[in-house]
């Protein structure tokens, strides 16, 4: 196992010798669109958070290739367990942007009915499983879903995304171990952005790489340049094909860098100075844009047009999200069980009797982490 990185395009946007993306021009441009959309959404949502219009956000600036390249490799019937830092995966997989924005406002149009913090999405239609905040818990669940797909003889596979910090969780171990033993059709995607809030990767593991951990579970581990969207796509596609063919799981380490804070509540200058600056030059969107321009698939004029279109779309989603009412009071008591049991109905009725139905949110409440 070496520290070599799989690459398809060079850091200056040139196609590397003998490497072909295996994607049509429309697909390539579509991926670029999702990456740019992710970046613009990020900037807008952080601004909204700074203005106090949404409570919380998790930016992913600089990690767009790892999100969009992976999403492109999966089929509609596949299941994906996302982490909370992959909006590009949702967009590339066809989730309407206004539904994501609705989640950040926690309004009645949010499919999760405002029951979770922003960015804890769930989109059953796209087989994007509900996100929880504790790290790593979804890794073993993904292994279970892959075991179920194998048991039922279905064509679908399962993918799960987590960070470098996630590899330290006990459910990373159990997930890799269960999937390995069962030869389950699962793709483990470790986005190594080198930071778990303030803890750098060298304090997370003594392993030479994260990919090397795969060997202990009897599966291949591959290290990929996570800022090269075509390399991410290529490696994920091969891992997905391997899973679909019944050859078992794969672990990919997608090496990138968390350029922004962990979340809107985090100040990274407290623990890493201006280290992020060196990664600005390795921007995955600029790199892919240069590649597309080199292939005569993209131009200055197209860029300007797309930026205008995407910003207008985000503006419309924000306007819609901000004006929608908050979920009704009943939604606090529904979905705890399939049917509302008498003791919960009693609590709801008592609440309405004592306090009425008008409950405005506290404007001064802020999340500290």
């Amino acid at each position: 196992m070496s520290q070599d990185l799989l690459q398809v395009i060079s850091e200056s946007g040139k196609a590397l010798k003998g490497k072909k993306p295996g994607l049509s021009a429309d697909e390539l441009v579509g991926m670029y669109r999702s990456m740019l959309q992710t970046r613009l959404l990020d900037e807008r949502m952080i601004n909204l958070q700074r203005q106090g219009r949404i409570g919380f956000y998790v930016p992913s600036t600089g990690e767009e290739a790892a999100q969009v390249g992976t999403a492109m490799a999966f089929e509609a019937q596949d299941w994906v367990y996302p982490s909370y830092r992959v909006p590009g995966l949702f967009l590339q997989r066809g989730v309407p942007i206004d539904k994501m924005v609705a989640n950040c406002f926690g309004n009645e149009a949010d499919l999760c009915l405002g029951r979770q913090m922003p960015v804890h999405y769930a989109f059953a239609e796209q087989h994007l499983v509900s996100i929880s905040s504790p790290i790593g818990t979804h890794i073993i669940q993904a292994a279970g879903t892959a075991m179920a797909q194998k048991l039922k003889g279905d064509d679908g596979i399962t993918a799960v995304m987590f960070g470098d910090g996630g590899t330290s969780s006990n459910d990373f171990h159990s997930g890799m171990n269960f999937a390995g033993v069962a030869r389950a059709p699962c793709v483990f995607l470790c986005t190594n952005n080198q930071w778990a809030i303030s803890v750098p990767q060298e304090k997370q593991t003594a392993s030479e790489t994260f990919a090397i951990k795969a060997a202990a579970y009897g599966m291949p581990g591959i290290r990929v340049d996570g800022n090269d969207v075509l390399a991410v796509y290529d490696a994920t596609k091969k891992a997905a094909e391997r899973a679909r063919a019944g050859d078992g799981p794969t672990l990919l380490e997608l090496l990138t860098y968390r350029r922004g804070p962990h979340s809107s509540s985090d100040d990274p200058t407290r623990y890493r100075g201006n280290q992020a600056d060196s990664w600005m030059a390795k921007d995955p969107i600029l790199r892919f844009r240069k590649y597309l321009e080199n292939q005569d698939l993209w131009s200055e004029a197209q860029e300007a047009e797309l930026q205008t279109e995407l910003k207008a779309e985000i503006n419309a989603a924000v306007k819609k999200g901000e004006s929608a009412p908050q979920p009704s009071l009943e939604t606090m008591f529904t979905d705890v069980f399939a049917n509302v049991p008498p003791f919960l109905r009693e609590q709801y009725e008592q609440l309405v009797r004592d306090e009425g139905t008008g409950h405005e949110p506290d404007p001064d409440a802020a999340f500290p982490l």
Binding site: Q141, K152, D171, F337
Partner: protein, 325 residues
């Protein structure tokens, strides 16, 4: 009707539900070839194969986490945790994931599954094979918690639990796994409804609430009380969440006196909730203070187990207290 043990009742329920629905799968430590350390899953692997009766790696968090992933995908997993004392590594998966999935996803994702686990003392198992963890789960929103007290209920309640759209914690009282035998229907359609308590002994003077292996202790205590002329009513709760509150209030209203009985430690125990509900909703019918009989607030002891476990004479003392107040 065949006469069977609680272990056989569990085994029959699993077999019947697995025959009726291909999506029902069993997974856990030693559940396959070995048939479970208590034999609850005996012979399942022969009939349903290793794909549906899965010997998993030794990880409780892994067993429950994988089962959640299966349930989300549409299977009906019935994971076994070998002893309830081993369930804590899976506590996060149970309370933060399985229990919350429907709620946090706005009903888009659900976890219909049954976590089976033997619990309770009286088998000389020491601290790590004897605990009663029900209160940790009854405190968690989103969990249905079921505790059968005999073979008839074990089979009927387990079948109902497997058919439930909600995740269920199914606590099996292992001390009475093999005795006494009881007539249990062999009919596929027979289930015992979740959320309904059963009056095991009718009485007019006091009520004992209980569940699991403590039902037998309550019955013995009532027999002793009857010798003193006091007729006790034994209310076997069967389902802890959702509680059959109507049955509880009705019984206490009838008798005017309440003794709660559990083998779990007393402080913040499930029976304390029963006491609070009665105090809030029916204090006017009480003719004596409520008495709680429970395990002590100590780790479960090995050698002194017989002292720790609530027994009929200890319950009788509480009955005397409420009757002579």
């Amino acid at each position: 009707m065949p006469e069977i043990t609680l272990v056989q009742a569990v085994n029959d329920a699993l077999k019947e539900e697995m025959r009726a629905d291909d999506d029902v799968v069993v997974l856990g430590e030693d559940v396959g070839v070995n048939g479970g350390v208590f034999r609850c899953t005996a012979d399942l692997v022969d009939e349903f194969g290793e794909e549906r009766v899965i010997d998993t790696p030794l990880s409780e968090s892994g067993i429950i986490g994988a089962a959640i992933g299966m349930a989300l995908y549409g299977l009906k997993p019935v994971p076994e945790i070998q002893f309830a004392d081993f369930i804590w590594p899976a506590f996060d998966q149970i309370t933060s994931e399985m229990a919350k999935m429907r709620y946090r996803s706005g009903g888009q994702f659900t976890c219909p599954m049954v976590v089976r686990t033997p619990y309770g003392g009286g088998i000389r198992g020491g601290h790590y094979h004897s605990q009663s963890p029900e209160a940790y789960f009854t405190h968690t929103s989103g969990l249905t918690v079921v505790v059968p007290s005999d073979p008839y209920d074990a089979k009927g309640l387990l079948k109902a639990a497997i058919r439930s759209p909600d995740p269920v914690i199914f606590l099996e009282p292992k001390r009475i796994y093999r005795a006494p035998k009881q007539d249990v229907p062999a009919d596929d359609d027979y289930v015992v409804e979740i959320g309904k308590a059963a009056v095991r002994r009718e009485g007019t003077d006091f009520t004992i609430t209980c569940y699991g292996a403590m039902v037998e202790v309550a019955m013995k205590a009532c027999a002793l009380a009857a010798e003193k002329g006091w007729e006790g009513e034994v209310l076997d709760l069967r389902t802890l969440v959702p509680l059959d509150e109507q049955a509880l209030i009705a019984s206490v209203t009838k008798t005017g006196r309440l003794v709660t009985l559990q083998e779990a430690p007393k402080f913040s125990g499930y029976s304390s909730e029963l006491s609070a509900i009665v105090a809030e909703k029916a204090i006017d019918v009480l003719e004596a203070p409520i008495r709680r009989v429970a395990g002590f607030d100590v780790p479960f002891p090995f050698t002194l187990e017989h002292v720790y476990m609530p027994h009929a004479e200890r319950v009788l003392k509480a009955v005397e207290d409420v009757m002579t107040f």
